[in-house]
Symmetry: C2
């Protein structure tokens, strides 16, 4: 089989440029590994003239990615523009309509429209691959879909947003407040155009919803992800957590239970010396648990030109080798509708309360906890420099529902200066 | 495509039984994931009557695995007998000769005969898959061959023998000497029939040689692996290493250099708080470094019924899905002959010397080190209860060749009670 596999690349940011470099520099290696030449025939981006450090002169140019997607000399449409509506969606739809396989790094698009796109692709026996959409360079989708295909997956969890992890570790290492590190991350270009995608946990939630679908054979259900961002995490929380032997991580957990599919993405405390606790900066980690394999842990860079391009090329090479695999691991028609369930597995919680400094305030809080069946493992009042009294509580194991009820009741006591920060403690 | 994929399984130990359980219990799931039923048609093992906890009544029985391999109702020959000669080799050869794909967990066989078998398979457009042969349940071969196909792999390293890691961590945790823990491991059935396969580093070396071939596109070269076992590691070494902030692990490292392919499997000191240092018991870890992806780390169970069967089923599902991939990732004809090179990247070393307790002994050793250009970072004489003086030295970075020369010269001084233990310190 020596027919070349012809790529059309839409989006020439760092990842697109990374893909071009690999295709140019490793032509022989790729041909050896896949059994056929892999070539780029056409590209599209917003600006034709921008200096990207690679020559585009060998490739046809299209201003419109939809036109690129329809070209007869393109076998695989590689979508690296991003965005869950607009050109990315239009061009992928056009690619499928005109019989092209698709490789994309676009988690937002797939989290919102993955099911419809997978259905359209399957109708035409086309594949949509998206290794680069989740956990950067880590071949986690391949591991779940293929390597662990003999397992009933029981749980998937991980740290999947490098920007949040950068902010949290930087706060910790430099002892800087959230706002300052956020501004730093923004200046470094680490944040999405809408920063809430990162710090609000949405980007990581998109990724988790894709992993859930593959892991549990359910339709992607991004709306079913309980989302909580890192915006309210203070340097005090980080320091207190450390003092207790924990780190704070934006952690995603998805598991199928008798009540339905639990999906949550929220800041949690994890043991400081655990693999998750030791994650630094932009590194991602995904933990996969299956009935046969027990537990597999994958760690690697969550973003960046090389790692993301590596993931895109993994998909391209699979297509070149002739691997035809359903978008979410099984035919769309066999995906079940996920019934979304709130997590009710008991866990200890970390509570950071700011109370008005008046007699009886703490007693009211303690009473509320007791009334909701929540017992206190540890409590400390940290300092007392103004009229407010910050109080930190670590509870014994309790269910989320009891905790939520207690938090509501606390907010109604009239002694709270603001809503408490409540973080689950995961003993992974 | 609803033609069933028909497996013939040779070898019904724990792994074979694990595969039978998965095929029986997950028939629907496997059919959904692969697009066709996966069934077992025939089995073979030494004893037909042994109670294995699964019924074999649905399967044809063959006393001879070669006869199983030749059966017309078998599409994939699953070899789970082990051993690098004899029935395993004969039956895989027979399977290939009669047009069957092969899935095997047999690292010893592939390390010795993988090239010949891959050549025979390729001549007939057949595939040989062996995910279960390396690092148990971790889909590491898939990651290397497929997920990271866009990378020039620069280094592969890892802990790949659970028994050695069990012995080393057990010595550490229980403070027990090597001989005692070795006897324990033997009693628990953790050791191969020839224990030297485990503690001599041979089994792990087999695995490393397979990973090297895939990573670097070279013919499997087990003879090129510098092998050193854990037999000489004492509880004192483990305690001293811990005191210095390290753990001792049987670590494999393979990297392509300008001088050739370095492959070594030897006990090393790694930082106690590093992911490798934190590995416990039978858990394996593989670190893959590539020019695009930077570094990916995979961790999971290195052995056991479920994890190994999971890896076998990953291969089976790939074949069911129609993935045809060269045994070592590229066609056999394009594999290059590895030129074996001794590692010469400088590293600090840990030396455990036992000197005769007489004046000038230490001076002679210090002189030898100096003459070989090796400077001492730390030294201590640990205790002194008999006529011998145990001395521990941590050197500054030095090359292996200089260290070997120094060790030879030390042995010639006449003050050494026995050959020194010299362990590389890897700052991974």
């Amino acid at each position: 089989m020596t027919t070349p596999l012809r790529l059309g690349i839409a989006g020439l940011g760092t990842v697109g440029v990374g893909v071009i470099k690999i295709v140019r520099q490793k032509a022989n290696l790729l041909a050896q590994r896949t059994g056929r030449p892999v070539v780029i025939t056409a590209v599209s981006a917003r600006s034709r003239d921008k200096d990207r450090g690679v020559s585009l002169s060998d490739y046809a140019w299209e201003d419109d990615p939809v036109a690129l997607a329809k070209r007869d000399d393109v076998d695989v449409f590689v979508e690296l523009m991003g965005g869950h509506e607009g050109p990315a969606k239009d061009s992928i739809e056009a690619a499928i309509a005109s019989g092209k396989d698709v490789v994309t790094a676009n988690k937002a698009l797939l989290a919102h429209h993955g099911h419809a796109l997978a259905t359209a692709a399957e109708d035409k026996d086309l594949v949509i691959r998206f290794e680069a959409a989740v956990a950067g360079g880590i071949p986690v989708i391949k591991a779940l879909t293929e390597g662990l295909a003999g397992n009933d997956i029981t749980r998937v969890m991980g740290v999947m947003n490098g920007t949040c992890n950068y902010i949290l570790t930087r706060m910790q290492d430099a002892g800087l407040p959230y706002d300052e590190v956020f501004a730093e991350a923004d200046a470094l270009g680490f944040l999405e155009a809408d920063p809430n995608l990162d710090v609000g946990g949405i980007d990581a939630g998109h990724k988790l919803s894709l992993l859930s679908s593959i892991a549990f054979g359910t339709e992607v259900d991004f709306d079913g992800v309980e989302l909580e961002g890192i915006q309210r995490i203070s340097i005090e929380d980080i320091e207190q957590a450390e003092d207790l032997g924990y780190k704070i991580k934006l952690l995603g957990v998805a598991q199928m239970t008798g009540r339905g599919l639990e999906q949550r993405m929220s800041p949690c405390l994890v043991p400081a010396d655990s693999p998750l606790g030791q994650l630094k900066g932009g590194t991602n980690m995904v933990v996969i648990e299956g009935d046969a394999v027990e537990q597999v842990v994958l760690r690697g860079p969550g973003a960046g030109e090389g790692p993301t391009a590596s993931a895109v090329m993994g998909d391209v090479c699979d297509i070149a080798r002739g691997l035809r695999i359903s978008t979410f691991g099984v035919p769309v028609g066999t995906l079940t509708k996920a019934k979304s369930a709130q997590s009710n597995s008991p866990a200890p919680y970390y509570l950071h309360l700011t109370l008005e400094d008046k007699p009886g305030a703490l007693a009211k809080i303690a009473t509320v906890l007791g009334e909701n069946g929540i017992s206190i493992d540890r409590m400390r009042q940290t300092r007392h420099s103004d009229a407010n009294a910050p109080v930190l509580i670590v509870t014994h194991k309790t269910q989320r529902a009891a905790l939520d009820a207690a938090v509501d009741a606390m907010n109604a006591t009239g002694v709270m200066v603001n809503a408490p920060v409540a973080l689950r403690i995961e003993t992974v």
